[in-house]
Symmetry: none
């Protein structure tokens, strides 16, 4: 069996069961432990899975249960602070969920007067702490993974509003492929959010740039503002993005 075939086999197992045991793979693929370990290490280097003593776990599995510690918190705070400059008194804003957006809300100026629509209950609770912000929570089926409202009724409600700016995080952004995602419902949701907004801002830590996932949300030129933790000079994509009218923050 070719190495590539083994890698594909391992990734199938990972996607199916979220985990693999070294010992199982030795039996199934009929190669030595060392070979399996080398395979796993290579897949780790490609960022495709997570290695632990005794086997490996899928990346999504790992991140979804690790909710007590926010990953890359420092970067997210930098992004959040930058993003607040987009918000002016009197604006009507729509936000998604996620730790970066939540951090953004915490950084807003105390006396901001604005109206916020949001699909995230945690964001709503945080926004409610501001006296002069009107909060409208958009409800629907509640996603256990992403902790936001989703589904048909959310899409319907979004189709009835038009806001100045929509603000969301993303799992992947690529100069050619644009914004992409893995979950179909979240994908639909983001499309509807963009359609409901005059302008859009995407909050994205740099390591998620230049990654492409299965489902396309929108092309790169649909994004009005990209907010990362990098300086403009350090952002290699900068010229390409500017060409597509994406403002960099």
């Amino acid at each position: 069996m070719l190495k590539k075939e083994r890698h594909d086999f391992i990734m199938r197992q990972i996607n199916l069961h979220n985990r693999v045991l070294t010992s199982d793979l030795v039996q199934l693929l009929n190669v030595s432990e060392d070979t399996i370990r080398r395979d796993l290490q290579e897949l780790v280097d490609l960022g495709k899975l997570y290695k632990v003593h005794g086997g490996a776990l899928s990346k999504s599995y790992h991140s979804s249960f690790d909710d007590s510690t926010v990953y890359a918190r420092d970067s997210k705070i930098i992004i959040a602070k930058k993003a607040t400059s987009l918000i002016k008194d009197g604006m009507v804003v729509l936000t998604g969920g996620g730790t970066t957006v939540l951090e953004f809300v915490k950084q807003l100026p105390e006396n901001l007067e604005a109206t916020f629509f949001t699909i995230s209950p945690l964001v709503a609770v945080e926004l409610a702490k501001y006296n002069n912000i009107e909060v409208i929570l958009i409800g629907g089926s509640f996603s256990k993974n992403s902790q936001v409202s989703y589904g048909g009724s959310v899409i319907n409600q979004l189709s009835e509003i038009k806001v100045d700016l929509c603000l969301m995080g993303t799992s992947a952004l690529h100069p050619d492929a644009g914004m992409t995602d893995t979950d179909w419902e979240i994908n639909q949701l983001k499309k509807a959010m963009l359609a409901a907004s005059k302008k859009s801002a995407v909050l994205c830590i740099s390591e998620k740039l230049e990654i492409t996932l299965r489902l396309k949300v929108c092309p790169i030129e649909s994004i009005s503002y990209l907010v990362t933790e990098l300086n403009n000079d350090d952002l290699l994509l900068q010229p390409y993005l500017s060409k597509n009218n994406v403002n960099i923050l």
Copy 2:
């Protein structure tokens, strides 16, 4: 089972119940006590939980326990535990907000299969921790005081559903005046919730009994179940309530 998986399992239990017993984990994970103790110690080193004699507690629980902002927490826990007996597999339930309802959600049995509608984002987030509970968050204008969705759109959405049981806290309950409130919008909301439900349960600490506020929500006989922290014998209203077909828990 891999060590990482055990750690994730433990953290899930902690997030769900705010505590774990060493002895329970030994049975559930089928490893020796020593292994569990080492696991717990490692999670302590990672700052993810708090170790005590006999098991471990969640960090948030520990801090919220010290946090005296939750008034009469002990009574509310008693009420919450009693109220869980009203919920059976397969039920469709509607809940309001408030600390007592939130505590109720935390006390639900781990594998409950049910559908919950709620107007409270915090309740939704807490419910989402249960694998077999479907959560539908009802959105609308968000109340800074009561931390729930309210207003016309909520009333509309409530008019479209019919659930088995509606569960809410209250600020006042009186044998003659029934359930009363001070806030007009919350008043309307509660009426709509009751109208959307076949049966209703009111969670109420005893000190709010025999109080009357300005706005009437419903007469006493509209309440199917009253849950307080008292024993039946200590509840002076008991005969009167039974006469009006209110079940006491």
